[in-house]
Symmetry: C2
Subunit: 417 residues, 2 copies
Amino acid sequence: MKKLVGAAILGQSGGPTSVINASAAGVFLEALNHPEITRVYGARHGIRGILNEEFYDINLEDKKELGLLKTTPSSEIGSVRYKMKPLEQDDSEYQRLLEVFKKYNIRYFFYNGGNDSMDTCNKVSKFFKDSGYECRCIGVPKTIDNDLCVTDHCPGYASAAKYVATTLMELTKDANVYDTPMITVVEVMGRNAGWLTAASYLAAYKGAGPDLIYLPEETFDMNVFFQEVEQVLAKRNGKCLICISEGVKDKDGKYIPEIFQELEKDSFGHSQLGGSATILANELKKKFGTKVRGIEFSLMQRSAQHLASKVDVNEAFNAGKQAVKAALSGKTDYMVGFAREYDANGKYKCNYVLIPLEQVANGEKKVPLEWIKPDHSGLTAEYVNYALPLIQGDCKAPLEDGLPRFAKLKKILVDKL
Amino acid sequence: MKKLVGAAILGQSGGPTSVINASAAGVFLEALNHPEITRVYGARHGIRGILNEEFYDINLEDKKELGLLKTTPSSEIGSVRYKMKPLEQDDSEYQRLLEVFKKYNIRYFFYNGGNDSMDTCNKVSKFFKDSGYECRCIGVPKTIDNDLCVTDHCPGYASAAKYVATTLMELTKDANVYDTPMITVVEVMGRNAGWLTAASYLAAYKGAGPDLIYLPEETFDMNVFFQEVEQVLAKRNGKCLICISEGVKDKDGKYIPEIFQELEKDSFGHSQLGGSATILANELKKKFGTKVRGIEFSLMQRSAQHLASKVDVNEAFNAGKQAVKAALSGKTDYMVGFAREYDANGKYKCNYVLIPLEQVANGEKKVPLEWIKPDHSGLTAEYVNYALPLIQGDCKAPLEDGLPRFAKLKKILVDKL
């Protein structure tokens, strides 16, 4: 196979996770090792940084600091929520990308994100191919939602799941500290897939978790909800801990906050969610007259690096490395995916595989309905067996003054040509 | 000194912390070691458990599980928010306590809580003395608010502070992930004292923290607030991260939510707070038209055992042990307090001291005004020097299946006599 000589660029897109920097570390450290990659760039705020010719020069960074990216939450080079115009409608942004790639002789394009980002990567890849520009495009998965197709799971999910399960175990202890009635509603991220909310069941599985769990895979019915809460209150002396996905919808397809307020739309056309916990807590207070508390895990669930799963950090890092290796071996238009294997002792092992981008782009993998207990008391053993291997081990930033020491990059922008 | 032979009881009161069980472990494990303590009880839900003759028999517990209490958040025996009627108005509850103590020959009373609880402990102690009933009463401090007088600091504070600082470092990374304008308002607990909100400055001190910090020690002025936010937005490209105490009040003594809603009162006559972050975020959105997010640390800040400070856990545990030792040595009507010392190498050391309960009861220690920077950009070096030694080291529960293994007590109630 012919060696392709040129620069490499990594862009990150969508909501960050605790381990998206770990994938960046994997891409950067691997790319810096190969002479055919003449320069390594980090796009400032994803595709927009490429359109604007704003790249950080990763060759100028200290390798120790790049290593610390493994345990630094969010995205140091910056992410973006930006949907390129459909190619058939307007190719100007694609032409601009091609121009920039040619100008800097960028021959390796790594795009790290969720299903929208895999779609972008796929389109860019096809456009380059049709234009006769040789560039190897590899997607690196990322999403706390765990909703990418084909791959067994996604980097970022396990650490967020570990946050949700651990925090719910702690909150369950707190919610039982008094002998007085109390309903607690906890809201977890997840627009259409309930994987992250499902992780709350791991707390219940360990003996200290929510009584009721609602995923967006099932239609949310307020009357059923009230009945189920009432049953728990009767059994548990007026106490009930509920975990609900921000994405649950009623039979008319309406999110809980939609009943109460006009929703804004983000630039991908998704609704901006949040607030369900408070709204439901207030409704429960009216109904049962008991003390209530609504809790949102908000941005903490995707940035709590201090609770990152070691398995997740290592897999995210390796996904970055594997992307570079795949590109160097001549592959293009794939996403690095994970395939699960168990060894003879039943020990979990992750195999890195290549999945055609078009199989991943814009698809959504949901929690199987048969894994959801119909009485909303939780998930089946299948889910527990699926999730537990992923949340093993800790991998947090080293402490300095008792607080995390995150990576400190120089972030020197490349001079525009 | 005459040996006092009889049972010991521990009660816990007020809001829990990550380390209140560590103090319980200290009391229980120390008390079980001394033959003059004939039985060790844990009052179910504090003073109310004593009034109802509901005690757990700690002698029946596994010592390994009692040891695991050190790393189990909240209160396993249960806490209570219960204010006894003033003695001079109605002594019936005090008489009832005396009756119960006599019936079970309880001669050692340990009460673990904040300033309200130290007041209760003090009153009970005085009533027993006046009634000629020999019982040694020792308070064990506890409060994430860090507002007890005389003692240098309080068990529970450092772990909550470590949660606040660590989480704000992570949120700061998240809040800067996009290049679009965004105001984030984070609300931290603290009714009258801003110690916990002050901990958010430790994140800024480490290079990733809030731009503006508002403590309840200073009068909150909405106009000044808007001006200061505007200045940050101008400097930081439309971004601003604000940390605010739930207890900030305007010049009329009104909390932020009071301007918008009727407040309920809890049984100590304090207002039930919360919601300031969302309210301020909405006001800022109206004012600056930018994207906003309100985040409440809610119950997580007091129950995040996985981020507990090792210094705090050990001090909380030792406070419990010291309380038992003090009582056995004949002391009564004291609270165990902490005095800070630095060795010749400047290394922090905690000395355990006894403080008369009446010096602590109902008093409140606030953040010195001279430690607060007038432009609300944070705290002075005095605060950093005060706080950093307290948040050192990690001490979290052992992992089982990747999740915390908390103490599992049998919790066998003593048969009523």
